[in-house]
Symmetry: D2
Subunit: 369 residues, 4 copies
């Protein structure tokens, strides 16, 4: 079985999630498209990254990501660093001929995201922005139902990503530093909403809204609110907040079409709510437990009804990337390319602009030069 | 027991709802503050209004609402007519010294609503705009929890009123005629969202959004989308639509505070979701079946757990009005006065303006002269 | 419109429920099959029954139910008294030529129930045992789906009626006195489970179980548990308890067939869960909000999605009885006849016997002589 | 870090679940109590077991489990074979000094289970019967709440394990062969219900019920129904079936006490419903998403709200066993020992006896000689 060397930048929350995924791909998605070999892991804290290497079985740890870029045994560079560390290492890795995965948001704003996309695209390597929620089975099933025309004409998308850990002035993490994070709930959560809105309901054309900071002294936004229009004529709302007390990871969305509707909540990620206008007298939303043998990704798992976890979405995501690298499929449309990462950033920037200008902002997208 | 003569303008959907309520008040809210005596009912269709009079037990039917206004035995004039028929009869009845209830929206726009409020307020009669959802026990309980400070500082309100009957070009009702209805989902559904937003989260200061018409040829809006700011600093989204397939009467709202959160869905109107940050290790939203002996309005009903219906909210609403007329309480703050009706209209108008201007619109309220 | 005089024995909880229903039938089910005229109401407490007469509009109150039986203007005798007062007045009324409704349980045990059925059946009047839960729209819809074969062969019925008000040794009501009530949770709650089991899944043939009393000194059972077999070959469990803390009126049942399944909870009585083995890839239970224009009983109510309450089930039930009296339909199969009341008692008695004998008990039913 | 050699008997469904768990323990439960080293895997199909060895990284595959027993580098023998293959290899492994895990049901009946327990206990090795559902975080949290007295006196336990894959006469697996499986839904599903009933509500003393086979020619039971009594005085129902259409893995239970209640559904295994009689006016079941930093097992996983899957319960279970082997804790009470496996079998046997005798059966337990 062909191997691929993996280099990771980042060892904390996302480092654990991606390491776990690479390890599980080797035997849960059997046979894997490529066998991931954990080569090197980089991070700023020497001790912590060293322990991570031991824990996950990387051949070496380093405090210099350039070592990964220079390592010819690494074929896939997976960038899980703070947002400020997305651009330079990712571009360098791609220019060194490595395929690249980069966590979301791609850059700290649309301009940086465009730069990453444009520079990486020029190298010809495979690139994926790690919007892992596209790889929730229920989300993929939703997309397949939509692609099959089961919803008819899309009328509405309403999405909100609700968390509640932000309401604590004593917290300090890079996520609250504008230079490292770029933004707050916007880049962290709203990008996910924008990405699934685009994946499921199509391109966003205008936004009317704003970002909001609740805590005095907090330097990034705590919440984002917007009314949006889609190129299809659909309309809806987007919201993201770290101040929705009681909601831990409630990325909830609903999409209404002329023939059907779908609804979802990440806190119950194994379920998809499906409504169809089929004339049945027993009319209502069906709670689909997305775990059937004919459901997306389920070939890798258990008998029906034996649900999977949040961490397993990364198995699907990185398996998808390995298949693309192996030439078995393309990253798009089911994976988010760096262009998708850039486009999400344009929508997010437009919300910020709308907040500042007080005007409805058009969202326009640049093409590659 | 003192009686009060009731005159109804309107005999269809709302005529049934209000007639039923007046009849039930007489024995379900025992003893009633005033005994409602069904005197006259007015409507344009002579045959239909005649049948309604027989059905509900009014002393007479008429095709001329002025007869009700002139009838001295009528002490409460309850206007359930199409929106275009709100202003003149309501003002006339008040000027004839009758207490007045008027269905929502108060007028077809803010200007007309202001005129009604101002003219009626000048007469000194009691007035209530029939936002019946304030009289859902779960909504009143929510308000009581908020008033008691259990939510702390309010951060978010997100409300959406989702129905799905509008996606049929062959439908014709006065609700699709701009001159009779004033607007579509805006005046019909969004006013309810605005009213509960104001009742629960306080005054709205800006809106960024728009109204949307999906069907070619439809002359009123089918949906409304907005991002909003409250005077408290809270932010959120408002939505109303007749195009959310599968949602029949899904008026859903959630409110997040610094100490607690509440969530609600009108399709399960007997339930309130309650979250509190009380340090309990077993942390989560509680599904409260609002039917306890110490819950709002429950003294009138059944043992705990024996739920009530949508129609019963009108019993609470009109009982509240009778108590106000009897001098036992005021219409405000739990009932919506005509000022509340006017203020809701200002918010709705601002959404329309925002849609047209492409700008965030301030909401400003006029006072009485 | 033809009238029918109503005589009520009982003025408290059930008196309120039935009075309300008769009053609403007159205008909510328009035109009513017969116009109910509230003639007389009987009860032991002179003051209370007098107030009830005034409250609900009966022509007179009496502390002697025989006056109702003797009153020729009464065509329907509705017995809502304590269980010990079911037999004699009901039989007397029927023998006086009045149609009769009797609250459940029909008698305090199978023998008394048989006596009531047999004596009343001999008179030829219409008789109905007031198992009102057959008249929940979702329950009737369930029956219609089953009758249409949509569930295929029935495999399982599991039903439980959970309440939590019994765990209080200081409570005293006739419901705790064996002579007045006959039994505890058995006659009060388990009869409902048995009746819907029979209505939906067919006749019960054996029971293996027992009744249980938790509180020292309590003279009736607090809970009932049984494994049961049906004549169809289906099997399942039956439970009833007043000790399920947190469950207020949770009459929950589920029925599984070879082609479909249904599930229900009385605390959400407007909803029916429907599963069908139709090969759809989006497989799951549908939450049907039973409020469509083509749903049972909905012609009497509101637009779709505007839910009804527990009290409204009595409107359907007594409307059904009036139709039967008017000759528009039969009490059976959708209403429970006194034979159904008797058969439910046989099943309940068999559970008691099983508890005493420690043996699986056959359920056998007597026929009329 | 100390290693422990693992030998697996079985490579299919449970082989995948346990292999995955051992691999994840090495880095998800960091540092692991012992580092699992995958030594040998045994199975009857040479080709399939060979592929499993390659897939999961075992050093060797064998078609003779005796090789595992003889292998001195193996410290833990994990028996996942068909039920008929539980006794001999497990006993042999223990007598060879290896710690043993055995899948449920421990034996094909109580006698065989007793034999396994007695023989293994005599060796002094650690033993665990793999009732993995004790290691669902919500189940452990339930147990902790009960242990802390938060439910007061237990009144009711009702448990049902509902699946729907059995209604297909063309299916053939060892699970339908009495010699290999011992029983059908009884040993497969009802044992789980019995085990959690015992874990949460205490010892079962009597059962009144039966096993049922629906399909002609099926040689094992398809469903089990019973009313049960506990030594605490609690009562309830137990059910297990492979014929509950629409239920995929719905192991649902509810427990009611004098101070609180808990409810659970395996299809939403990250959630626990918690009710407490604390006098709060907002009274209801709380939906606890069991994923907080202070919740059981959560130290190994993700931030709050990022749910885990069914497969992850095996990580907790086998981590628990490794801790016991390492001397950090005991298997009991949170793990099921072979005595628990035996006792579950006694309850299951009593249900079969009750079905045959038609009598309530006492459950009695043997002690070690």
């Amino acid at each position: 079985m062909a191997e691929i060397g993996i280099g990771l930048l980042g060892y904390a929350f996302m480092g654990k999630a991606h390491s776990n995924a690479f390890k599980k791909i080797a035997y849960m998605t059997w046979p894997p498209p490529l066998e991931p070999k954990l080569v090197g892991i980089a991070g700023r804290n020497t001790e912590a990254v060293g322990e991570a290497a031991e824990r996950y079985g990387f051949e070496y740890a380093t405090d210099d990501w350039r070592r990964l870029v220079a390592d010819e045994s690494i074929g896939l560079f997976d960038n899980l660093g703070p947002n400020a560390l997305h651009a330079e290492p990712t571009i360098a890795a791609a220019e060194a001929g490595k395929h690249v995965v980069c966590e979301k948001p791609l850059g700290r704003d649309a301009a940086e995201s465009y730069e990453i996309w444009q520079r990486v695209a020029a190298t010809g390597v495979k690139h994926m922005c790690a919007f892992n929620y596209r790889f929730v089975p229920a989300v993929r099933l939703a997309r397949e139902l939509i692609d099959a025309g089961e919803l008819g004409e899309i009328r509405h998308f309403r999405g909100r990503y609700l968390q509640d850990w932000g309401d604590d002035a004593s917290l300090d993490t890079w996520r609250f530093h504008p230079d490292e994070a770029g933004s707050g709930a916007l880049g962290d959560l709203a990008t996910h909403v924008v990405d699934l809105a685009r994946y499921l309901a199509g391109e966003i054309t205008t936004v009317s809204g704003f970002a909001k900071t609740f805590l005095p002294g907090r330097q990034v936004d705590d919440a984002v609110e917007a009314a949006v229009e889609f190129s299809s004529g659909a309309v809806g709302t987007l919201e993201a907040t770290r101040f929705a007390l009681g909601r831990r990871n409630a990325f909830q969305w609903e999409i209404n079409g002329s023939q059907g509707s779908l609804a979802f909540d990440m806190e119950r990620l194994n379920e998809l709510q499906v409504f169809r206008a089929d004339g049945d007298r027993a009319r209502g939303f069906k709670t689909v437990l997305v775990s059937e043998t004919n459901h997306p990704f389920w070939e890798h798992w258990w008998p029906p009804g034996h649900i999977i976890g949040w961490g397993d979405t990364f198995v699907h995501e990185l398996h998808h990337m390995l298949r693309a690298i192996a030439g078995d499929s393309e990253v798009a449309p089911h994976g988010a390319t760096f262009e998708d990462g850039y486009r999400a950033a344009e929508v997010c920037d437009a919300i910020v602009r709308s907040g500042q200008s007080g005007a409805r902002e058009q969202v326009t997208f640049r093409a590659l030069p």
